[in-house]
Symmetry: D2
Subunit: 380 residues, 4 copies
């Protein structure tokens, strides 16, 4: 691709997990070229990490602000930046780039606090740049198809949304030693008010709304910290009431042994249901009421155009997490190219926006408020 | 078996579903002989139904009270009676037999109202007879194994109990016409205060407590009636707090298209988890933390003694719903035989008791109370 | 059921496995009453086993011939006899009863040798009695549905039949000690010429033909005995050519660790396919070409009349091996009742016949012949 | 990566499927830079396709020979070339590059004919360059783990290898119109002597040998062409005898409705078994004899170092077909880098070699020979 989008990255240096995922995602469809980075909050590590990745020395920055300032001035400076820092840094970093007209592709959740989220929304609204949130699960082809099927009325009126995201990696106390992931994700200063609810509850909430097309009205939540000494919740139970009368449940946990990333979504309406599991993402169960269950497969006979748009390999050749992530990057690339041309992207280009990010942080905030009030129903 | 227990039945005549299930369950291990019946509230139908089943004419009763009186006087009268009527009749029927020293094997839920349940408990306590509740899912071998594994500490301290029982048969309005099942199960006068929560929520609650060994402290419930004109709930969402700090969620629904009898239980502790599905009952997933998941099979290499006691066919030759139900009858037979001999049954004989039945009705009552108070936490 | 069929049993005494299965199968639908037995080749054990089962003393026989002679003379003698001995005894026992007009319900394979099978067929043809072979897997409701779907042309012209039956219980040498099952099943004198091919290969072959409706033309087989010192094959590979041009493969093994009774059948035609697993017998995959896969469930929305006829519990309440076995007994009961009345049974009554049994023994014979000729194609 | 390997590509222009897959695979780990191409046998299309991909005009070649000649002379010419043409062109193309010391990464099967394969092997042996065959399924992490477990003796002595690769895309006649894939894959001139056996049978055979570590001694095959007018087989059944006494079966089909790319491998030994499905590649069943089945997951608790080497995303975040393919490219990159340095690659670097390719073509040849001789056992 001669016409790759010039990309920078903040965060994601040596030892980081999610930065490498973003880089692969950006590469898969060859839409981006990584040319600059401020990959760590430690300047030396930041520079060294950039050199590891083949970024040229003059664009291996020691801190993100310097990067924003200089890249904005370069003739061939970055057009977009990926932000893959801990949550509390999303807002300050994003603002530096947005105000300079550099598009932002930011990891989720949007911020650690609701105040930060609102402030960032304002900054984004004023900016002459796009903001893309990597709620990556929305990039799975069968999730796109599910969303389309709901929108097309295949399920009738939606009554129920059951969503869960259990993990087990924090079943015992991992934090406090050298597990970098565990350390920042259980630290309120870096993660914000939500532990499990922030890290994975927001994913579950996002995907539930994305597919069902519903808007949450109010919720009742019960947050728990099962592991002694942990500073944030590691399990959350939520009952949900959507506008229009649908109901739902959400469960997110980091202490459920045997679960890796078992995000599982079920949506039921008057005419049928859908079931989808993130760990087996190429399958979508469609259960029209009164008819046999059907197993739709990515690339298979029942796959829709919405799924086909985001599909690279034929049916039976599974795509996975990285391809779903790549789809977000590729949708973003389409939007950025349209932006360049002063046009709106094609109607079928979809990516999670800063409003989705705000909704996620508001969800965390509502869960914490409800739980603090013994599960009282609170508006989101 | 020369020494079959003489059994009567109340309810379960022509067109009834659960009566036939009880009769098969009673036959499978050849522990009972059905010799008397009052199988319908309509006397002619009652008698005709009994004759259909080969019950002799003189023991084909037109009403249950006449049956109780006469059978108690017969030298070879029934030793036990199965009660398979709609819920509101359980208490009056059971009392007639219990007061005459005839053992009762009663379908669930125990009664339609909490007052009836308490009154029946008193009657049972005074009676010189056993009371067995057919919470049949406790008869599945892998459920017995799961219970044993929890009790043995294989899961460590229990933190989470996630249980659900979705169905789809009431997705549209079935009641009001000739669907007998739908009619009485959505009729408060016959079913009591709970619709889905009473019919299947009690099963989910029972199995959750049976396996986890936990006692529910309080709950927050959201009941819904999605189908217009329906008189009882057809969906219930519950958050649960157990004594000792474990938490849980329960979902029961009759309006989730694609679900037949999808009872699904998951229990997670500090050391591992268990997952079991009623529709695939010969499998039990055991997930010790930090080790590969193991699939235990009834009759297979990982099956415990608790499972083996209740197993007839070798591993890979599936047993199902009727065999699980039969296990309740066979456990009851062991208890009845011990009772005859004035002894306690062997320690491994387990069956659901009237206290389990009371707990189920109290659960329904608490769900209704909580839901009426907008999901306030209420004690059970 | 006032009108139960009087049943005797030969074989199936203390410690036997399959006898108990037959007795449960006969009881489930209450069509039979077990009134006589010669349950072991050891007279004392035979009598004691009968008394265990509540058979009256005068009908607890020490040997099968005495039983046949006396029962035939009794006014209320047995109308049918179940034969559950090792294979080599099927023919001599069956002949004694058939010649006296007593219906025979016989375990599979029909006999140990092809000569015995042919001789028994002749005896059955002359007899004034029915012969039912318990190829029990044909009793599964979804197998009936599969057969109907093929017959109805839902799959188009059949091209491929892939069938397998792996087990693992003979992975190590079990015979030679006190494993009674292992001893007789690996003994050519009792089992005949086939080990795995006779015990489970015949099941696989039977179900393949039953569902596909095809007739085998020729086969090429490779038999192996992997466990040292074993006297019969413990693994068989077969390529199959059916009349009309369809092809297939059959694999049966007793040395495949992790497999319990993993009978798996797949049939593919010009218009679609079917897949069924014995260990999950309530499910049938239907794969119409060019459409999404459909999961049909016993008792569910896609279940046909052929499945419904043999169904006791609603969808989602699994039936299993014993119910499938019971269906054979119940079909046999229908046939016996029709025979009593001098009528043909209803057209939808289906049970495996002595011709199916002969076909199974001929299949074993052909496999052995082919394998002995280095896999040459031989006619069946 | 500043140090990317300069890559060219032959074949894979507009409308081609596998070329795009190779390009993504080459990009995922950022080890290659695509700088030259002769992407079609039609010069104009070849050049246009290269420009589409951002290849500079002077390296967008009209034919592969011109490309080989010029690139070999360039200071920064390609170090490696991916060959993704139809099978019959693999040998002539590869030879042009090999003789000039350019590494070859070639799609499978190696060639259309055994003669071509042998000739290519000779060319490769003389060349100062590496030859990598993209038998991509060997790149799946759990396949690496399976291979290691067999090699480590976890399964004991291997007795059985059951492998199958059913598809359904050629159930009806697709060739003869504008389905480019169908056209060349059913054309003996482009594909060689094997249809299904060449396209997917070779994959099944390769993976069976790769994991089991066994060498095939002889086989008996039955090839069929079910679709009228098709010029190559669309179904193959094979019985296999391995050196050392293990046995196996292989089935490959393009006419099995409901199957997409259902490659399924099972290996059983004296101590345990393994089962793996390409469509769910993150799971590996391990069945130690006499113990519960274990489900090993990529990135999970039971994953070995061999799997971990090739893993990018954590457990529960599925990797798929493209990542498996990328692993071949990344292993090749390691080998190429070692070659540059005059060293052998690290011992854990594994990729399919030209000998594997020769074995695959010999397998096809043996299947055809056997089938032509009515399934006679032939040596491979």
């Amino acid at each position: 691709m001669s016409d790759r989008i010039r990309l920078g990255m903040v965060g994601g240096g040596r030892d980081a997990f999610i930065g490498a995922v973003h880089r692969i995602a950006a590469r898969i469809d060859d839409q981006y070229e990584l040319v600059a980075g401020a990959l760590s909050s430690t300047p030396e590590k930041s520079v060294a990490s950039a050199l590891d990745l083949g970024i040229s020395k003059d664009r291996a920055y020691g801190d993100y602000k310097a990067m924003a300032i200089r890249e904005a001035r370069l003739k061939d400076g970055v057009e977009a930046v990926s932000i893959v820092t801990p949550n509390h840094m999303h807002a300050p970093v994003a603002k530096e780039f947005l105000r300079r007209g550099i598009h932002v592709i930011c990891d989720k959740p949007l911020t650690g606090t609701l105040a930060d989220a609102k402030s960032l929304v304002k900054a984004a609204e004023k900016a002459n740049a796009l903001f893309v949130l990597t709620h990556n699960y929305t990039g799975y082809p069968m999730i796109r198809q599910a969303r389309d099927m709901v929108a097309n009325g295949d399920l009738g009126d939606i009554r129920l949304v059951q969503v869960e995201y259990p993990q087990d990696w924090l079943t015992v106390k991992e934090e406090g030693a050298d597990n970098k992931q565990a350390n920042w994700r259980t630290d309120p200063a870096q993660s914000g008010a939500g532990g499990a609810v922030g890290d994975i509850g927001t994913h579950a909430y996002n995907i539930a709304c994305f597919v069902s097309g519903l808007t949450l009205d109010s919720l009742s939540a019960d947050l728990d910290t099962f592991v002694e000494g942990r500073r944030l919740d590691d399990n959350v139970h939520v009952m949900m009431r959507f506008q229009g009368g649908a109901k739902g449940m959400l469960w997110a946990s980091q202490v459920a042994p045997g679960n890796e990333n078992a995000l599982f979504l079920r949506v039921y309406g008057t005419k049928g249901g859908l079931e989808w599991r993130q760990e087996d993402p190429n399958y979508l169960w469609y259960t029209p009421f009164g008819e046999p269950k059907r197993l739709l497969t990515r690339g298979g006979a029942g796959a829709s155009d919405a799924a086909g748009r985001l599909t690279r390999a034929p049916g039976g050749h599974p795509e996975g997490y990285l391809e779903g992530f790549a789809n977000i990057y590729t949708e973003a690339a389409s939007a950025i190219r349209a932006f360049r041309d002063g046009e709106a992207p094609s109607a079928d280009v979809i990516y999670p926006t800063i409003q989705d990010g705000l909704a996620g942080v508001a969800f965390v905030d509502a869960c914490v408020r409800s739980s603090n009030r013994n599960g009282a129903w609170v508006n989101v």
